[in-house]
Structures are given as structure tokens and as C-alpha cells.
């Protein structure tokens, strides 16, 4: 009998990145201006501050089946609003642990600091996230209800 070859479509994770207007979004713009090539997996949502992103949105995104969620903000101390990213940092540490506790790989939720000058870092962060999440495979918690 001929081998029924399983046609495996390559897994292309879908990753959401919330970027703060002042640092990370500007860094993403700079990556563009600098033509730093990167994987196509990441979609950016602009917010004014990383501190605008509540855990509800991250959890909802993962429950919707998105394969990864990132929050990208200014480096600690550089927040345009002085302290927004410090609050984000606290929340993210708690959220990350809670997600892992429930069995969601910690790579699926990341907070990273990217300044307006770090176009290269933005592209590196995107690449790293895409690689890691591709290796993990699809998010197994998603449902489109």
C-alpha cells in the first residue's frame, strides 16, 4: 500500500504585541526605517503606555487562541509617564507565574523593554518570540467562542 503522506502545514504562530507609543512603538518604527528584516508573526497594537494593558486583555487574547502575547514598553526609569512600566512590571511578574501555574508556557506571555532607539532590539525580540513560540506549537487553550 502506498504511504499516505501526511501533509503538514508549517505552524505559523500568531503573536500580539502591545507597544507603548513612546518607546516600543518608536523602536518598532525605527526597526522599519532601518529595514531590519524579521518574521511576520507579530501584530502590534499601539497603546500610550505599557501600563494601559490589563491582564484581562492578555488572558482574553490567549483564550482566543492567539499563540503569544507580548507587552513592550520603555525601560524601567524611562517611562514617559514616570512609573507606568513599573506597575506593568509588577503585574506581569504575577501574571506570568499564574499562567505558568495553570500550564501555559511562560514564553507565551512576555514583557520586554524596548527603547525608541532600539530598532535592532525590537527585531531581535520579535524573532526570539517567533522562534520560541513556533517551537512550542499552537496554543492549546484557545477557543473562538
Amino acid at each position: 500500500m502506498p504511504d499516505t503522506k501526511e501533509v503538514q502545514t508549517e505552524f505559523k504562530p500568531k503573536i500580539l504585541a502591545f507597544c507603548c507609543n513612546w518607546c516600543a512603538y518608536a523602536g518598532a518604527d525605527l526597526a522599519g526605517v532601518s529595514r531590519f528584516q524579521m518574521p511576520t508573526n507579530v501584530r502590534v497594537i499601539r497603546v500610550m503606555c505599557s501600563g494601559r494593558v490589563p491582564p484581562e486583555l492578555v488572558i482574553r487574547a490567549l483564550a482566543n487562541g492567539l499563540d503569544g502575547v507580548m507587552i513592550l514598553g520603555c525601560h524601567p526609569g524611562d517611562c514617559h509617564y514616570s512609573e507606568g512600566n513599573y506597575l506593568t512590571r509588577r503585574r506581569a511578574h504575577v501574571l506570568k507565574r499564574l499562567l505558568e501555574y495553570i500550564g501555559i508556557e511562560p514564553e507565551r506571555f512576555q514583557l520586554r523593554w524596548v527603547s525608541a532607539a532600539e530598532g535592532a532590539k525590537f527585531s531581535a525580540v520579535v524573532k526570539e518570540a517567533a522562534d520560541k513560540i513556533t517551537a512550542l506549537g499552537p496554543n492549546r487553550w484557545g477557543d473562538k467562542r
Binding site: E56, P76, L87, V94, G103, W113
Partner: protein, 321 residues
């Protein structure tokens, strides 16, 4: 000395008489001898209905939200854990300290009735009374009295209770208890779950979360879940589908764990209320443990303490460089 039902009745009667309170929230015997039910008094006359015994599990503090607009002060009976949720309600400006009269009751632990029936091998109808007797409970059944070691039959939260005596009160009935002998190893269950592999965690929680019927009892009974309109009840935006599946239940329970982060005092009411026996305390305790380890924070101790997720230190742990 431990406070008795009679002591509670006498004190409450006196509080009504001297005008200290206009309302009182306590416990009375419920549908059978193994249950108590919340009791709301408007005068001292019916104070003889009040009881205090190791069945008084309900955290009554949530009812304070319904008594915001009444005349006079509202008296309320609080165990150690209940008093800590009162602190959280005060922190969130949900109640006015001047309008509540807090009757603190040192607590030697609450009976888990399921465990009790299993240990004694009896049916609920056989129990006549349950009393506190130091390191044991005295169970009066039809045939006589049985003594059961507390550690065998306590509720889970009582096995981990660090605050048996009210942290805030206007009057304390009975002698303060500073610590409970059986409480030593915190977060045993959380640590067990943390030690599982990711795949095991996923399996475990997917099974538990799939049990949820979204009756919202855990939310509705929780004193620190006190939003007049919960985001899950909002039509727009819709955070949660009414469909019951694991992913929606995940959103519900994780977001709830986050919303009570830094406020949960482990009164255990969510887990007690859950008809599906979902280990909800294991979720909330995890967050509690992380807040303690990361930021040195314990909820419900001090009204002046700022909630941990509304503040920061420049030198906070940073795993995200």
C-alpha cells in the same frame, strides 16, 4: 475562654439597648443541626436566635455592602479571616468605619462537614450539635458525644490560618488566639501544584476548569469581589462568552484571581460555595504566595497599606530585560 452563643446573644442585646447598633449581622441555626445561616437583626429582641459554633463558616462581611444606607451602625460578627476582608473593604472605601460596629470572635477553626461525616461515618441527620473543644471538636449525635481531632476535619483555609483573631474590632468576645498549633507549613498545596510539569498542570487545570458551570457563586460570595457591575456581566465590551467551555472558564477564573490579587484573605468562601468542588483556593493562594514572595505583601492586615499592584519599587524583581 472561648465565646459561647449565649455570650454573643447577651452582648448583641446590650449593643442594641445602649444604641451602639441599629442592625446586627450574625449566624443562626439553619435547615438542620449541621448548618448555620446568616441572620439579620433589627432589634435585640430576637438576639436569642444568634449562635456561634464551629459551623459558622460564612464570611458575613460582604453583607455590609447591603447596609450602607441604613440608620445607625451595623454590628457584625467577624472571625479572623472575616475581619481581614473588612480591612480590605475599608481600604477600598466600600464601607465607612464609623458606620460599622465590629464584634470580633477568636476562632478555633471551622468544621468541614463533608470531612466530618466521612470521618464519623454518619449521615447528616444524625448530628445534633458541634462544639469547639480546644484541639478537637465535640460532636453530639443521637447516640451520644464523639470527640474528633480538629486536624482531621478542619476546612482547608483553617488549616492554613495565621490570623484566628480579628485584626480589627470594636469589641472582642472571648480570649484572643494568636496562633493555631496545626498551622505550620504554608502553601503546601500550591507547592505541590507548582512542582508539576507544564503538561501535568495543563491536564489538571483543564479538568478542573471544565467542571465549572459558571454559577458565579465564587464571585458572588467573595467579599473582595464587590463591583456593583462585574466586567463579566457587561454587555459591551463582552469579556466573556456565556458559552461554557474551558477557554471561557479560563478567562473567568484567571481574571477573577487577578481581580482579587492583593485583596484575597483566604476566607475560603469561594471554594466552600463551589458546588463542583473546584480547588479555587489553590488559584488564589498561588497569587497570594507570589505577592508575598515578590513584594512582601499580605492582604487584610493594615488599612493604610497600599495594594501591591498599585505601587512599585524601582528595585523590584525584573525578569524581563
Amino acid at each position: 475562654m472561648k465565646a459561647t452563643s449565649e455570650e454573643v446573644q447577651t452582648s448583641v442585646k446590650k449593643l442594641f439597648e445602649d444604641g451602639s447598633i441599629g442592625h446586627f449581622i450574625g449566624y443562626e441555626t439553619g435547615s438542620d443541626s449541621l448548618h448555620v445561616t446568616p441572620c439579620f437583626l433589627k432589634s435585640g429582641q430576637a438576639a436569642s436566635r444568634l449562635v456561634w459554633n464551629p459551623l459558622c463558616a460564612n464570611n458575613l462581611s460582604k453583607y455590609l455592602l447591603d447596609f450602607k444606607k441604613v440608620e445607625g451602625k451595623v454590628g457584625i460578627m467577624v472571625k479572623g479571616c472575616d475581619s481581614r476582608s473588612v480591612v480590605e473593604l475599608l481600604k477600598e472605601n466600600q464601607i465607612d468605619r464609623d458606620k460599622v460596629f465590629i464584634v470580633g470572635i477568636p476562632c478555633g477553626g471551622i468544621v468541614d462537614t463533608e470531612k466530618l461525616l466521612a470521618v464519623l461515618g454518619i449521615s447528616p441527620g444524625e448530628v445534633v450539635a458541634v462544639d469547639d473543644d480546644g484541639d478537637a471538636f465535640l460532636i453530639t449525635i443521637r447516640e451520644g458525644t464523639r470527640r474528633v481531632q480538629k486536624e482531621q476535619v478542619l476546612r482547608g483555609e483553617c488549616l492554613a490560618c495565621r490570623y484566628p483573631t480579628s485584626v480589627i474590632y470594636d469589641v472582642l468576645l472571648g480570649e484572643a488566639v494568636s496562633s493555631l498549633p496545626w498551622v505550620n507549613n504554608d502553601y503546601i498545596r500550591v507547592k505541590e501544584l507548582e512542582a508539576l510539569s507544564l503538561a501535568e498542570k495543563e491536564r489538571y487545570w483543564k479538568r478542573e476548569l471544565s467542571q465549572c458551570i459558571r454559577c458565579y457563586a465564587c464571585r458572588n460570595i467573595c467579599p473582595v469581589c464587590n463591583c456593583p457591575e462585574c466586567i463579566f456581566d457587561k454587555k459591551a465590551p463582552r469579556w466573556l462568552s456565556k458559552a461554557n467551555d474551558v477557554s471561557e472558564n479560563l478567562v473567568y477564573h484567571l481574571v477573577r484571581a487577578f481581580h482579587v490579587a492583593g485583596k484575597c484573605v483566604d476566607c475560603g468562601e469561594c471554594e466552600r460555595a463551589c458546588p463542583m468542588n473546584i480547588p479555587l483556593r489553590s488559584l488564589n493562594k498561588k497569587v497570594e504566595k507570589d505577592l508575598l514572595e515578590l513584594f512582601g505583601y499580605t492582604a487584610g492586615i493594615d488599612v493604610e497599606q497600599q495594594p501591591p499592584l498599585t505601587t512599585y519599587q524601582v528595585g523590584d524583581l525584573d525578569e524581563f530585560l
